[in-house]
């Protein structure tokens, strides 16, 4: 592995600015690393080497001209959910075969405007539906982490599994990701990387393949907290093309790194201490509490009474919105098409073959809960429960809590093909038990690595903030990072 690929975004930025290294050299180092690792890890579904080299040379020219942007020359990986003009954009689904959009998503355009270099498109669960990256049409991603002394392959989490694995394995300096129920934070926790889902509305959803529109948010996965702040600053914007995008100015998130947490109130929600929680998760949580207390924060016990209803409410709201959003894949406008005896037969055959099992399951659930006679009992009820979940958070924030500390996931990464999870969809859904509340309430949440499990796998903590107060999350996550250190997998691939 080249030394260049070990640099964080902040470190690479410094070397590029000092002209100690060129973007072309950095980009080539990543392309070499991807070529060597991708047959094993399967993190990328498309590598855009030529485009990357071309973008890198243009970045080098801008450095020479003194016109460098905030991310000038930094090579990034892009989740396959983001529309990238003329480049593979298929949400890792068979139904979008050969789709190459004629437009660019706002988030990726923001990155290119700031000078970033695109290495390629990253693997993910099909339509972002999954917690293990096993539902991808392009096959599972392998986690660069393994249990000590074992050669069994683990999942990187999902749905942003390719993003998390590529960042952990140093196949990109940072990656874009999206989070509907935990799809940034859970894979970040499983790979020892940092992932932030910002407040709903902070990043434009324009040009991101829609899963559940009231929950979807884009965010970065990076090697450390500072890099997450740097990347989010470039990704976030106010966008007239997304009516739910906020008009607030994007703050200088990096300035929050190193900010003191002295006197901050950190809430510890008792409802997150779930039955059967492994001792090592509980122990990690306690360590996080101690680190923040030692840094001068005040630790307070809080209650979020509707926590346990977030996941069941999510599994009504998200499939309902998905069934509606995915109605557009009909074999007419883009992607796969199977001819049938009439148009209905064509729709049904195309969709039956084009969607994988998990996506079909969610479309079916969504269609059922929205169907005549069931709307009030399911969807309306779930949206009312969602109001209560949000109210829980509003109450603790009104009481002066600045941020909430929880575990990020109920366990470390599990094996590819885990039989129990494959047999019971709900078991897989429980991966998101600590993250999904944040989407339901539209809040920002960050996952930061905090230690290793007994078997040597990374574990993460989550910090949840007030709406649009990502800065407090960067400040508090930085305290955790400083205390815990950074974690990188031993190379075996």
């Amino acid at each position: 592995m080249s030394e260049l690929t070990k640099l964080t975004i902040a470190e690479a930025r410094e070397k590029l600015r000092a002209r100690e290294v060129t973007s072309e050299e950095l980009t080539n180092a990543y392309i070499d690393a991807i070529e060597a690792a991708n047959p094993t890890l399967n993190a990328y579904v498309t590598v855009t080497s030529e485009k990357a080299r071309d973008m890198a040379r243009r970045s080098d020219a801008r450095y020479a001209a003194g016109e460098a942007g905030a991310l000038e020359g930094i090579p990034l990986g892009i989740k396959d959910l983001f529309a990238t003009e003329g480049v593979h954009t298929q949400a890792c689904s068979h139904i979008l075969d050969h789709f190459e959009p004629r437009y660019e998503s706002t988030v990726t355009q923001n990155l290119w405007d700031d000078g970033a270099v695109m290495l390629g498109k990253l693997n993910m669960d099909e339509f972002a539906m999954g917690s293990s990256n096993e539902t991808s049409y392009y096959g599972p991603v392998t986690n660069p982490w393994r249990v000590e002394g074992s050669n069994r392959n683990l999942v990187p989490g999902g749905s942003s599994g390719g993003s998390a694995a590529s960042v952990a394995a140093m196949l990109c300096a940072g990656a874009t990701a999206t989070d509907t129920g935990g799809s940034i934070r859970q894979p970040a926790a499983f790979t020892g990387t940092v992932g932030i889902k910002p407040t709903y509305g902070r990043c434009s959803r324009w040009g991101i393949v829609a899963f559940a529109s009231s929950l979807d948010q884009a965010g970065p996965i990076t090697r450390d907290v500072r890099d997450a702040a740097i990347m989010l600053k470039s990704m976030a914007s106010s966008d007239p093309k997304d009516t739910t995008s906020t008009d607030r100015e994007v703050p200088d998130y990096e300035a929050a790194i190193g900010r003191s947490v002295k006197g901050m109130k950190i809430g510890i929600p008792r409802e997150y201490r779930v039955d059967g929680m492994p001792g090592e998760i509980d122990g990690l949580w306690q360590k996080g509490i101690d680190w923040l207390r030692d840094a001068g924060a005040e630790i307070v016990d809080i209650s979020l009474p509707h926590t346990k209803y977030a996941l069941p409410a999510y599994y009504i709201v998200a499939p309902a919105e998905a069934s509606s959003n995915l109605a557009r894949y009909d074999g007419v406008r883009y992607g796969l098409r199977h001819n049938g005896k009439d148009i209905l037969d064509m729709y049904e055959k195309t969709r039956a073959d084009g969607f994988g099992a998990e996506v079909k399951r969610r479309i079916m659930i969504g269609t059922y809960v929205l169907s005549a006679g069931y709307y009030d009992a399911y969807y309306l009820k779930a949206q009312k429960v969602r109001t209560l979940i949000k109210r829980d958070f509003e109450t603790v924030f009104a009481d002066g809590v600045d941020a909430i500390l929880t575990p990020a996931t109920p366990s470390a990464a599990f094996e590819i093909g885990d039989a129990e999870m494959a047999a019971d969809p709900v078991k897989m859904y429980l991966n998101d038990i600590f993250t999904v509340t944040v989407n339901m309430a539209g809040l920002p949440g960050i996952a930061v690595p905090a230690g290793l499990s007994e078997s040597g796998l990374p574990l993460g903590l989550q910090l949840i903030g007030r709406p649009f107060d990502e800065e407090t999350l960067f400040a508090t996550a930085n305290v955790v990072e400083q205390a815990a250190g950074r974690f990188t997998p031993k190379r075996w691939w």
């Binding site: 437009y103 209803y309 007419v332 992607g335 729709y347 049904e348 399951r361 079916m364 779930a382 969602r386």
Partner: protein
Amino acid sequence: MSVDLATVKRVARLSRLAVSDEEAARMEGELNTILGFVEQLDEVDVTGVEPMTSVTPMAMKKRVDQVTDGDKAADVVANAPASDEGFFLVPKVVE
């Protein structure tokens, strides 16, 4: 509430998904597992609670009422499996 095989097939039709009998039988079990899981919500008293319509309190943005886009027929059909002169081609729907 639980679904039976006939309901699964009806929902599959509404979803425009062709399902074999074997698939429908498997889905029946899976859907009932998920519906059983979400049934927990029955414990929650939602009397007088407004359903959430917007997760962040914000007024819907309105754009200026003017033409800002268009003349992109070639782009629109570029990814279509079948098209002709700027139109999507579909199987005959009117006799």
